[in-house]
Structures are given as structure tokens and as C-alpha cells.
Symmetry: C2
Subunit: 561 residues, 2 copies
């Protein structure tokens, strides 16, 4: 037995809460069908691509009767980045299958979707499942980013499943993985191969949600970990009174994490990418706003603050987004310009070459960036020549630019006699991402993800292919949760990807007219000047329910609470 921590031991004994329908009937539930559904947009195109899957009804589970079911063989796969609760989804699937028939078998495909095509798997037994209950991480079977999207892959997956006698696949992933799950489901139906495909909504970014899926699992835990740390840093800023902390938070394509953390911790500033994009803000404007606040707070003798920055910011600022897109085209490894650029030896020549070919606006933006960031954009490109957006240290970039602006303001006060007029600015940078992706799930995520797994197993048993497991009423206590499924096609529309139109699950960005953003917008001016820092503290697994069972403010506000 490995040396595990006291908390690991205590959590191993935690029994996740389930929606009442399962508490009564276990997995012996009955699927009640609602009216037919339709995609969120591009109905005809989606209909044409998914003739077997599109238009199916929403399914709600109701109490059923215990029957004598045969054993099921089910495969499960984890896809994409880690999110707290993945192990509990698998435990939920396992427990539901075993409760249906003790002879049921669960195969875990290894290392993500490639495990399905390469036929790499392990049989999940009681001992394995028990060792991972309520733990963080995806290490039980690993994960991966291989995309399952070609017919060739689907043929292989079907052949592997049939060889093992697997009748259902449960795919735990984000919007892309669930889109592909639906393509696979459609393929299997078209070929008349009886393998049910069910999806589960996973993403700590919080961008896979809609009116039926109130939240993806993992978002609650990850934002709680980040909020704990932000609160600690706020307390530090307010005690030391001499640092401006710039904290970048995971979340490239949506700012739900930054918004939830802002609601939890009341920082001095929180940038929300969707607002930056909607208002077409420039980098200069953002810098001016923060620097102005540094100045204003200094006038009130406050030399400190905390700024939250969503990871994807530079891709939402129209001018930097355009610069990045121009650079990607110009420097593509396979293009003539890219090859020419690579052949230039000196940095000056490279810079001149790029400047002469960018649009004037983009050349100006590039010129306004600190030297280190400029170098990074030009030199640290990936195998295709794309600039490394995810590696841009936006938090340091902003510290540099704000610092430069303040130096300009301070420049008239070079004399020692004027030194009290100089605005002090000490920036400290942080980036929180890996710190939260594999935290042990909060009670909410432990319950929710286990319930999702249980639900997915029931959908699989009912042959509901092309569905996503759905647990409803999440803003209420688990005793009021519902369970069922929605057709994956229902969340789809057509979007341009790499110049081609593709069916995809629509990403949920932060809505500027949504309750969470409005609550933030109503309070942020006060937070900026008055230090209303709020300290959520670490995730609690025991104690009063309001401390250990509460979920996100995002979920509560969206539910109108």
C-alpha cells in the first residue's frame, strides 16, 4: 500500500451524492422522451451531416423497475486536458454497470482517443476504481489529444470494439471531443453497427455549457483552487502594501474562469476577454486603464493591487489577434515567405523582413511590444510556424507596458526633491493553470461527475447513441438534481475552421448580458478603489454545507439565485 496522505484516505471513503432518481432506482431507470430537438443554428447543414443523430428527443430519467439485465461491456476514454472529477465519472460508470449486472465489464482505453484506434486498454476492476475514487487527475487511464475524426479511424474503433464485444463507448471530453463523438455515433448508425456512443461534458474552462448543460465538471474545483491562491495574494498585497500582482488564469477561449474568480475574490482589476473584444479595445487602452488606476490609487496612498488576466487575452484584442494571424500566415513553415524568414541569419534582418510585409497597423503593434515578447513571437514558433500564443507571458507583458507608461508620467520628477511625486510600481507576475487542473474534486464536482458517469452508463444501457449525459438543476442541492441526456447535435452549428465549414458544438463565451458579468460589472468600480478583497480559502471537504458543498457563483447567478 502506497504512503497516501490523511486527506487522501478520508476522501477515499467519501460517497458522492446522486440525483434522487438513482437513489431510488439505482441504474434501473426509465428514459422518458421529450419533443424532437434541433441544432442551435445551421439546422439544414447539421441535419444533412447527421441524418441518423439529428432531431432526437431530449431524454429524462424516471424511476424504473429492477429487471434482470444481461452483463454489459462498455469502453471509456478521457480526452484532452485534465479536469477535476474525471476519475469520478469513471467510478460512476463502473458502479452503475455493476449495479445493473455484476458481470458487466468496463474497459478503460489508454492515453486518450488514440487508445481506441490503437486498441490499448485495461480492464477496470474494483481495486483500481477504489484507488481513484474522489481523486484528481486523469492518471487512472491517462488522456490524450488525438482527434478521432476520419472514417479510417472510425472503422478501426468499430473493429476494436467489436473484437472486444464492447456495446457502448463513453467519451469524456470538451466541445471538440464531443463533436467527434457525435461523428462517430453517426458513422456507426449509418453502418448499422450496434455500438452506442455517449459523451460527458468536461472542461475547466467552463465554455461547454448551454441551457441544458449548466456546467462542465471540473470548473468548480479549478476556480476554487485559483480563488484560494488569488485571495492569499490579495491578503499579501494588502499586508505588504507595495506590490501590484498580475495573475494570469487558465482559459484561452473564454474568460469564465477569470470572471468566476473575480466574483469570488473582488480583485482591483479583472480583464474579461469577451468585453475587450466587444469593445474593440487596443492594448494601449488596456494599459492606459491599468496605469491610470495605479496612479489614482497612489493618490490615495495605495501602492498595491491585484489584476486578473484571462490566458486568451491577446487573441481577443482585435489588433493583436490580427498581428498574430498575419504573422502565422507570413511565417508558415511551408510558405515562401516563411522559408525566406528562416534563411535570414540576423535578428535585425528578420525584423525588417517582417515589418516590411505586415500591414502598417500590425507593424506598429509589433513595434509597441517589449523586446522579449517580440523575439518570442518571431522565434518560438511551432512546427507549422505558428506563433506560440499560449506561451506569451501576457502577465509580464502588461507589467512591462504599465511600467513604461508610469515611467513616462514620472519623467518630470527626476530631482530627489520631487521623489514623492513619482508613482511607485512594483509588478509581480503569476500564472495559475496546472495548479488547479488536477486538484481532487470539490464535493460539488465529486458529486456532479460521479452523477454524470452514472447517467452516461444508463444512457449507454438504453442505447441512446449520440447523446450527452446531462445532470440538471445543479444550482440546487444534489437532492434536487435531475438526470437524462440531450442529443449532441442539439448543441451544434457550422463554423469555419482552417478555411472549411465544420459542424461543431458551439462554445459558450462569457455573455456580457449574462447575470455573472452584470454582477461583476456592477461592483468592479468599487473593488478598484476600495479594496473589497474577499478570501475564499482552500476547498473544504468537511464542515458546514455552506462551506463545503457550495458551488460557483457563476452557476448560482445564471440560475437566477
Amino acid at each position: 500500500m502506497a504512503d497516501i496522505s490523511p486527506l487522501q484516505k478520508a476522501r477515499a471513503a467519501y460517497r458522492p451524492k446522486l440525483p434522487p432518481v438513482f437513489a431510488g432506482s439505482g441504474p434501473f431507470v426509465q428514459a422518458s422522451e421529450g419533443p424532437r430537438t434541433r441544432p442551435v443554428a445551421d439546422v439544414e447543414a447539421i441535419q444533412a451531416m447527421f441524418p441518423h443523430s439529428c432531431g432526437k428527443p431530449v431524454v429524462a430519467f424516471e424511476a424504473g423497475v429492477r429487471d434482470g439485465r444481461g452483463p454489459l461491456k462498455v469502453g471509456v476514454v478521457l480526452s484532452g486536458g485534465q479536469a477535476p472529477g474525471g476519475h469520478n465519472v469513471i467510478a460512476g460508470v463502473f458502479d452503475a454497470l455493476r449495479a445493473m449486472n455484476p458481470g458487466s465489464t468496463l474497459y478503460g482505453f489508454l492515453g486518450g482517443p488514440s487508445g481506441l484506434t490503437d486498441n490499448k486498454y485495461k480492464l477496470l476492476d474494483d481495486a483500481t476504481i477504489d484507488a481513484y475514487r474522489n481523486t484528481g487527475g486523469f492518471d487512472i487511464i491517462g488522456s490524450g489529444r488525438t482527434k478521432l475524426e476520419t472514417e479510417e479511424q472510425f472503422v478501426q474503433v468499430a473493429a476494436n470494439c467489436e473484437a472486444l464485444g464492447i456495446g457502448a463507448l463513453i467519451i469524456i471530453g470538451g466541445d471538440d471531443s464531443n463533436t467527434n463523438a457525435c461523428l462517430l455515433a453517426e458513422f456507426l448508425q449509418r453502418q448499422g453497427r450496434p455500438i452506442t456512443v455517449v459523451g460527458c461534458p468536461k472542461t475547466i474552462d467552463g465554455d461547454l455549457k448551454n441551457e441544458r448543460i449548466a456546467a462542465s465538471f471540473g470548473f468548480d474545483t479549478a476556480t476554487k483552487v485559483y480563488s484560494e491562491l488569488i485571495g492569499n495574494i490579495e491578503r499579501d498585497a494588502n499586508s505588504a502594501k507595495k506590490y501590484w500582482h498580475f495573475i494570469k488564469l487558465m482559459g484561452r477561449s473564454a474568460s469564465h474562469i477569470a470572471l468566476e474568480c473575480a466574483l469570488q475574490t473582488h480583485p482591483t482589476v479583472a480583464l474579461i476577454s469577451e468585453e475587450v473584444s466587444a469593445e474593440k479595445q487596443t492594448l494601449r487602452q488596456i494599459v492606459e486603464r491599468i496605469a491610470g488606476l495605479v496612479r489614482e490609487r497612489f493618490a490615495r496612498r495605495k501602492k498595491f493591487g491585484v489584476v486578473l488576466i484571462p490566458e486568451g487575452l491577446v487573441e481577443f484584442i482585435p489588433e493583436t489577434k490580427r498581428l498574430i494571424s498575419e504573422l502565422n500566415e507570413l511565417l508558415a513553415k511551408k510558405s515562401d515567405t516563411g522559408r525566406h524568414f528562416d534563411s535570414l541569419a540576423s535578428m535585425d534582418d528578420k525584423l525588417q523582413f517582417v515589418n516590411s510585409r505586415l500591414t502598417p497597423a500590425s507593424a506598429q503593434v509589433l513595434g509597441s511590444l517589449p523586446g522579449t515578447v517580440r523575439m518570442q513571437l518571431l522565434l518560438d514558433r511551432d512546427e507549422h510556424g505558428n506563433v506560440p500564443v499560449s506561451q506569451i507571458e501576457t502577465e509580464k507583458l502588461l507589467i512591462d507596458l504599465v511600467g513604461d507608461r508610469i515611467k513616462e508620467w514620472n519623467s518630470p520628477y527626476k530631482d530627489e526633491a520631487d521623489k514623492d511625486k513619482r508613482i511607485p510600481f512594483n509588478g509581480q507576475s503569476h500564472f495559475f493553470g496546472y495548479e488547479g487542473r488536477c486538484a481532487a474534486p470539490s464535493n460539488f464536482d465529486a458529486d456532479y461527475s460521479y452523477s454524470l458517469g452514472y447517467t452516461a452508463a444508463c444512457l449507454a444501457a438504453a442505447g441512446k447513441t449520440g447523446y450527452m449525459a446531462c445532470v440538471g438543476n445543479l444550482a440546487r442541492p444534489a437532492g434536487e438534481w435531475t438526470a437524462g441526456g440531450i442529443p449532441l447535435t442539439m448543441m451544434m452549428n457550422m463554423e469555419m475552421r482552417k478555411g472549411k465549414s465544420h459542424p461543431v458544438i458551439r462554445k459558450a463565451l462569457v455573455r456580457l448580458d449574462g447575470a455573472p458579468f452584470r454582477a461583476f460589472a456592477a461592483q468592479r468600480d468599487a473593488w478598484a478603489m476600495e479594496d473589497a478583497f474577499r478570501f475564499p480559502g482552500p476547498i473544504q471537504y468537511f464542515g458546514p454545507a455552506e462551506v463545503c458543498d457550495a458551488t460557483t457563483l457563476t452557476l448560482k447567478l445564471e440560475a437566477g439565485q
Copy 2:
């Protein structure tokens, strides 16, 4: 009422545990004196400098009888970096004073020791104390790094205290602040001014301890926060299986934090500065060891790992320590060489100038560093011209150097056919410092720091000047703790500081023959290869005692448990 989090509300109600002597008698205890004490070294020199303070006996509190005491006026000050529990020390002082006599008064001096000389203070009342019970941070009265060490300052402090009628000062700080508290106590005794000075041991670095002071407050909480995050990252590394995480941890002058976190989380590698220094390891050797492990683990198909790095590492590697000291001398702002260096315009000239004047060994070390670090050492100097050791991103430095070494090993395998022979190495860097300094104290730190404050108030009431508050038997439950005081001189010796011999409290470095290091050394080879990652999880304030009341492994191992 501010919008505080549910956990803040719940923690506000927490009643810290006290040693049984206070549970019985409240603050009406009796001081029992042990034999006379002596400094740890340099007895005669310390004796000569502290004739009134040196040699006093250790004091232990025993049950006393409730008596009719007059009201006391006491001042309290927070000195130096934040540590979890500071607010509880103050609450403990406050509660003990009020229990002695409800008319007692507690003055909080603002912004650190400078509040004492500048006479900046606030009266601490019930409402203020209640708002900060069991919270992190030092924001109740702020802190600062001004050193109280000159006679002129002492005269001012005495005058300010006398004007307010303050009969005792409680100074909460690290080794330096407590050394200075003793100088102040000695000064006041010499002048016959009846102000008692009592110290409290604070440092998250854990380097203020000895056979009587088993731990400083804050170390438990800070290491728990860091261990939570390290565990989460280990889980992520083990799930994604493609990153090597290099994590720098606060602790410049000793590696207690890195060692405690290693014992809690079982990382792939943990560097301990004291061992690096004792074995006179070179940077090259450290890099070779880590790179070798990357290679060995890759041979076992493991492309990931977690490396812990103490913040002070480069000051413990003999060759980099020498380089830094040579640079500090060469580039001192007031020196001829420093001025000449500053007058040089081009980076190449600067580098040439430095290289020609460093010893050959140091020039070689400088040359071996990545360009960015080299630039930082030469350009980012402070007002005295010192190189910014605390800003060196040691975690990135090691990633760069390990990466370079692996590139060398990979260089024979340029062919696509050989690509499987190339060792992959993706480094991710982290630095955890501010994340833990202001966390809300764990139950242990909440109890311990409150008990320290209570004890300090009793020492103040008993007129025990030049003492440090001491709570004993800490590795046992609070129901077995003892309380008393030890003379500050007892921990002192003479050390060279800036070319002069000074009396200082001896810093406790990690002992290579101590139980914590030996426990680590016995297991680390297994951790390096076998992934024995351990996940402590977040601090719990509720739940089973083994989860929410356990203290550090360092303390347990040092106590022989």
C-alpha cells in the same frame, strides 16, 4: 458588513486551543524559573554586550491563582515578511490582557518597527480583533522591514512608549527582529526604564528554531499550501505524462520549506541547499544529475517529473555564490569599477569589462549561464549595485541548462529515422511564495500562534524582558502543550555581517544529520524512479483530527515520532 466568504465566516467562530495551563488558570499563571542559561556560542562576547539580559533562567508557566491585577498597557508590532498566524498572536495577546483586567489596553504599532519610532499606532478594540481572528495576513496593523538597531531609535521608542504609558512591547518577528528586540530590552534595562520587551518567533522559512523553540508560526500553513499545489502538479504531470515541472519554493537562507514539501509530496527530485553547499556541488553537477534522471526515466518511458528547488539555491552553490560576491564587489555603485561599468554603453563592452576582472573560475561560471540570466545579473542591480539574487529565476535557469544538456545528447539523432532515440524534455516553471505567506492559518498555526500571543502577554505581565515566548511539546496535541519563555540571548552567537562581528540569533539550517533530512535521503532514490507522488490536498479546518489538526512531518520527525 463586508461581503466575506462562507469559510471566513466559519473561521471567525473558531476558538483556538491553548496549552492546559491557560485552560485552567487563564492568564493568572505563575512563572517558575529553571537554571541560568548561556548563549549557544561566543558566551563572553554576548555576556559583555548584554550584561542585563544574558544568563537569565528559562521560565515555565504553572497554574497560579486569580488575583486582582491593575490594567496593563501593551504595544505590539509585526516585523518583516508575512506569516500565517500573525493576527492570532495579536488576538492571543489581546484576550490574555483583557482576561487579566478588562481595562487593559493594546496598542498596535503600524507598518512594522517604524511605527514604534514614528509613533504611528492604533488602539486595538474588540471589534477590530474579532474581524481578524484566524485570518491570514498582517493587514490588521501592517508590517515593515525597518530595523530597530540604533541607540537613537531606542531612545525614540522609549519616549513614545512612556508618553503612552506603555509598560511592555511584544515584537513578532524573525531572527533579526528578535535580535533587535533583545538589543532594545538591554538598552531599556541599562537605562532603568521599566518597559518589558518580549519576542515571538515568526518565519515561514522555518529557520528560527532550536531545542526550545520547535517551530516558528506560519511554517505549517505555508508548507501546507505549497504542498497542496505541488501535489496537484504531480497529479497533472502523471496524467499528462509530457512535462517536467520545476518548482521554486520560498526560503532563501534555509531549505526547510523544500524539505518539508518533499516529505509531504515525494517529488522526482528535491534539491536541498545545505546539501549542495556541504558537498560543494557545482551548477554543472546539479544539471548533470537532473538531466541524467530525465534520460533514465525516458528509458523507462516516463517523460515527466517534478523538481523542487529552494529559492536560495544559487547562494549555496559555492561557485555561483563566489561569482555573485565578486560581481557585487566589482559593480558596487560607489566603486571605480562600478562607475566605469555603468559608463559603458554596449552590452558587449560591459561583458568584456566584467570578464576581464572576474577570477577565471567566476568568468567561466558567468559564461555558462543562459544569456537572459547573464543580462539580469549585470543589468538588474539594486541601488547599491548588488545583483538581484532573489529575482534570479533559478527554476527557468535549470530548465534551460538541463534542456541544453539533453540537446547535446540528442544531437547524434538528427535523422527522422532516429527520432525515437531523442530524449523529449518539456519544462514548465513555477514559483510559490506569495501564494502561502498570507493563507489563513491552519488549525495548528491558529492554535500555536494564539498560544504564543497568550504566553507573550503573560511574560509581559510578569516583567520578563528580553524573553521569547515559547510553547513546548508542539509535536503532541495542544492538550499536552507547555508555555513559558526563554532568554533571547540563549539563542545568540556572534557572526560576521558586512565585515563586522554582530550578536545574532543563530539561524537553523537544515541539518544533514537531522531526522527530516535522513528520512528524505532514505526515500529519494525510490521517488526519483518509481513515482511515489503523494497528494496532501488543501488545508482542512474541519473533519477528522488526523486530517485537520496534523502538523508538519519536520516537527514530528524532529520530535522523534
